[in-house]
């Protein structure tokens, strides 16, 4: 599903961003409109296009279920069940969704055979000719920044909340951890595969407009180089325990 589906099965304008490693993220959503996970957690519940719930009514529903009362009293002693505590509870759960040790990490730690030779060459390209690391940096492979990378469309992105030209059509750099599990790609799901993503960057993005990040330019990658970059990205995926949804009181 390229884009999220909201209230009344309406297809929304953007793809749902991953919550993976959200524990280390600030300014959440593709446009950075939420300052914290606690704030982010409540946004989709109340948004008319998404879950379209009245927060007061939602709290009343939660309060009417005795098991929730006990769970909240245990987790937040002395605090009433409010939107604030619900936001804290959801954010605390989200902070447990983290990626583990990937083959790339094992290779960095010294196990030479943890990744293929193609993946190693891909890592060189990632940091060199392809310049991916200018934005996909540090251990989460994101600068937590906002860039217009030239995805077509008129979504104002970050500029909707920060009225600066450079923020027009700028979206948050996503982490590349476990990236091969999250197709399709881009804020609108417009690129179906990692191979298509590399083609997108090789041509320096698609849209041409004043806000386009200056880092976006044609890369002139060869076919083997494109394949090596994809091989590298696949090494960023960890084998993590499955997240099992708890059975919730009703």
């Amino acid at each position: 599903m390229p884009k999220a589906v909201g209230n009344g099965m309406k297809v929304l304008g953007r793809r749902s961003p991953t919550i993976l490693n959200g524990a280390w993220t600030e300014l959440l959503f593709w446009d950075g409109r939420a300052e914290s996970l606690e704030e982010q957690a409540l946004g989709p519940i109340a948004a008319p296009g998404e879950m379209n719930q009245d927060l007061d009514a939602m709290i009343a529903t939660v309060k009417a279920i005795p098991e929730y009362g006990m769970l909240f009293a245990k987790a937040y002693p002395g605090e009433p069940v409010t939107a604030k505590t619900v936001g804290k509870a959801i954010a605390t759960f989200e902070r447990t969704i983290v990626s583990g040790q990937a083959p790339f990490d094992e290779w960095i730690a010294g196990r030479e055979d943890a990744v293929s030779e193609d993946a190693k060459a891909g890592f060189d390209l990632f940091n060199g000719k392809a310049e991916c690391s200018k934005c996909h940096t540090e251990w989460l492979l994101t600068d937590n920044g906002f860039h217009d990378i030239g995805v077509e469309g008129n979504d104002p992105g970050r500029a909707q909340h920060l009225h600066l030209q450079a923020m027009q059509s700028a979206f948050k750099t996503p982490t590349l951890r476990n990236v091969d599990r999250r197709a399709p790609y881009m804020h609108d799901g417009s690129e179906a595969t990692l191979e298509q993503v590399i083609e997108f960057y090789d041509r320096g993005g698609k849209a041409r407009r004043p806000s386009l990040a200056p880092e976006m330019k044609a890369l002139h990658l060869t076919a083997p180089e494109k394949r090596q970059l994809v091989e590298f990205m696949k090494t960023l995926t960890s084998v993590d325990p499955a997240v099992t949804l708890p059975s919730m009181p009703r």
Partner: protein, 107 residues
């Protein structure tokens, strides 16, 4: 030696000039961080923002009444911003919001 003596004799004059010609305050941007988290300047003084990174930055403030925006600043570029009004200016890079700087403007 004569030159040194002459400079030494002129020192009070040079120091006197210092009262009006303060050293330029330079804030560097390197590794997606400001080189300092806080600077203090007097009203009318300027702060220069230097980009020592290999990526663009976009330094701005939306502090009410003290707003400014350098706009996109490429690697190696330097831009100077006057701070004319007293106040506490919260400065950010719009591209890299973890870059945070406070400029205290006070007499």
């Amino acid at each position: 030696m004569i030159l040194k003596q002459a400079l030494w004799r002129m020192m009070p004059v040079l120091l006197g000039c210092g009262a009006t010609l303060r050293a330029e305050t330079v804030v560097d941007q390197k590794d997606r961080k400001f080189s300092v988290t806080e600077v203090t300047v007097k009203p009318g003084e300027k702060v220069s923002f230097k980009n020592s990174d290999d990526v663009a930055h976009n330094v701005f403030s939306v502090t009410p009444g003290l707003e400014f925006e350098i706009q996109r600043q490429g690697p190696g570029e330097k831009s100077t911003v006057p701070f004319n009004k007293e106040g506490t200016v919260e400065v950010r890079c719009s591209i890299h919001p973890r870059m945070k700087l406070t400029v205290n403007v006070k007499k």
